[in-house]
């Protein structure tokens, strides 16, 4: 029972769960997963669903300061270290005719350089913003991947700090790009799109303001954060349900454990896809915002 639970910090809500009956269980699980909220439950009070406190584990170092370090922060540091190790080894002795390891590193860097930066920004601007875009992509990717690495089991991006900070970086980057390109005119074209009848600005300007300067960073943050939180909760539910069915439940219910285990493995693979996809989306949206800011002069 403890093998999985040692990884996830479960809390107990015995009182509220007592009312739930077994047939409602699956519906409840689903609903909870979707709502990202609070515990799931079974009738017997022995199944412990994940809670949002999963993402706020106990502090390990520097408790009480603004530099608290908990398990998730350590996982982030590990992801950063792994990232730098991979790319340091990959770029240490680069040869014109690449070795196998170098090819992989190059493939990764080229993917960001060619498919994201140069494709959207062109060669010149692509080169300017390449370090930023590369950093965003690989930071998100490596921190997402920790969500399915056994022993770590939680994504570094599943706490709001990283998504929010990176969204802030993207925000600053596209405003910087726009202001550098067209000065104060950037805000004028962003808020008062040319070619529109004057009186429409009453409606258009607030909409543009909200969509450009508020919705962009918020959606960037929430999309990544929620994907990672939901992915984690889903895996926890599936694996802790498997554990429960195999070792706690009686009779026929044990069979259900096989089903949840298969789903758990399938969703682990799915989470791998999500990890890559979200990193790609985050990087490409950052690039698109920069591109729009650079192109905004008409």
């Amino acid at each position: 029972m403890q093998t999985l639970h040692c990884v996830v910090n479960l809390s107990i809500f015995v009182d509220a769960r007592a009312e739930l009956t077994a047939p409602k269980q699956e519906k409840a699980l689903l609903e909870i997963a979707v709502n990202l909220m609070v515990p799931s439950a079974t009738g017997d009070g022995e199944f412990h669903g994940p809670t949002i406190n999963e993402f706020f584990p106990e502090v390990i170092f520097f408790a009480g300061t603004n530099f608290e370090i908990n398990r998730i922060m350590l996982i982030r540091f590990l992801a950063v270290a792994a990232l730098m190790l991979v790319f340091w080894l990959g770029t240490r002795r680069m040869k014109i005719i690449p070795t196998r390891g170098q090819s992989l590193t190059e493939m990764g860097l080229d993917f960001v350089r060619v498919s994201i930066a140069e494709d959207l920004l062109g060669k010149k601007d692509g080169k300017r913003f390449l370090p930023l875009i590369t950093t965003v992509f690989f930071m998100v990717l490596f921190m997402n991947i920790t969500g399915i690495i056994p022993g770590l089991n939680i994504a570094g991006t599943s706490v709001i700090g990283v998504p929010l900070f990176l969204a802030g970086v993207a925000y600053v980057a596209f405003i910087y790009a726009g202001v550098k390109k067209s000065g104060i005119g950037f805000f004028r074209t962003a808020l008062f799109p040319p070619g529109v009848p004057k009186f429409l600005y009453i409606i258009l300007t607030p909409v543009e303001f909200i969509s450009t300067f508020i919705v962009r960073p918020v959606t960037l943050t929430l999309r990544l954060l929620m994907n990672m939180i939901v992915g984690h909760l889903l895996l926890v539910i599936l694996f802790s349900a498997t554990q429960f069915f195999f070792f706690t439940a009686d009779g026929g219910l044990k069979l259900l454990g096989g089903g949840t285990l298969v789903f758990g493995l399938a969703f682990t693979l799915f989470e791998l896809l999500v990890a890559v996809l979200q990193a790609y989306i985050f990087a490409i949206l950052t690039t698109v915002y920069i591109q729009l800011a650079l192109a905004e002069e008409h």
Binding site: I69, F87, T135, L225
Partner: protein, 191 residues
């Protein structure tokens, strides 16, 4: 019912949408570390590599172009040489043919001349020999005829009146004209 659970739980739970300061700080630290790493270490190396590779590829392409051009030039040269050689061979063959014809014609002519000369000399010789024969015959036949005639005359003159007539005619003819011995010979033969 679920909402009651949520409400009950909410009080003691943290909101995942409210960032903690330490969270932001460590996120920023991670970001800047990675940014510095890519900006100053990994990507410049990658750029150097890409430039080197582009140079290498361009260099190789230039080299290949050069080799191609050389090969083409050489091919043109060889083709030209081949054509020259062929033309020369043709010329030599033609020359040989005309030479041959000329030589054959010359030899034919020379042979014809030689044959003519030989024939002419043979004819002269034959003529000379005939002349010699004629001369010797003339003298010999004369003598013989005279001898014969004297023999015939000596034996039958007295016997026959016919013989005496022949002798007389013969002598008359001999006296009458200076005939060649050939004219005399058949006459004598008839006797």
């Amino acid at each position: 019912m679920l909402h009651i659970v949520i409400a009950a739980a909410a009080a003691e739970q943290k909101n995942p949408l409210i960032p903690e300061l330490y969270d932001i700080i460590w996120s920023a630290v991670c970001f800047f570390v990675i940014l510095f790493f890519f900006w100053k270490i990994a990507l410049p190396k990658m750029q150097v590599l890409l430039d080197d590779r582009a140079d290498a590829i361009e260099g190789n392409m230039a080299k290949a172009d050069d080799a191609q051009r050389k090969a083409e030039a050489m091919l043109v040269q060889y083709t030209a040489q081949l054509a020259d050689a062929r033309a020369e061979a043709g010329a030599i063959r033609d020359q040989a043919r005309t030479d041959g014809q000329r030589i054959v014609a010359e030899h034919k002519e020379r042979a014809a001349v030689e044959a003519g000369r030989i024939a002419a000399s043979a004819k002269t010789q034959i003529e000379a020999e005939r002349q010699a024969a004629v001369v010797s015959l003339r003298s010999e036949v004369g003598t013989l005829a005279i001898d014969l005639a004297s023999g015939v005359i000596g034996e039958s003159l007295s016997d026959d009146a016919k013989a005496s007539a022949i002798v007389e005619r013969f002598l008359a003819e001999l006296e009458a004209s200076e005939v060649p011995s050939q004219a005399a010979a058949p006459t004598a033969g008839k006797i």
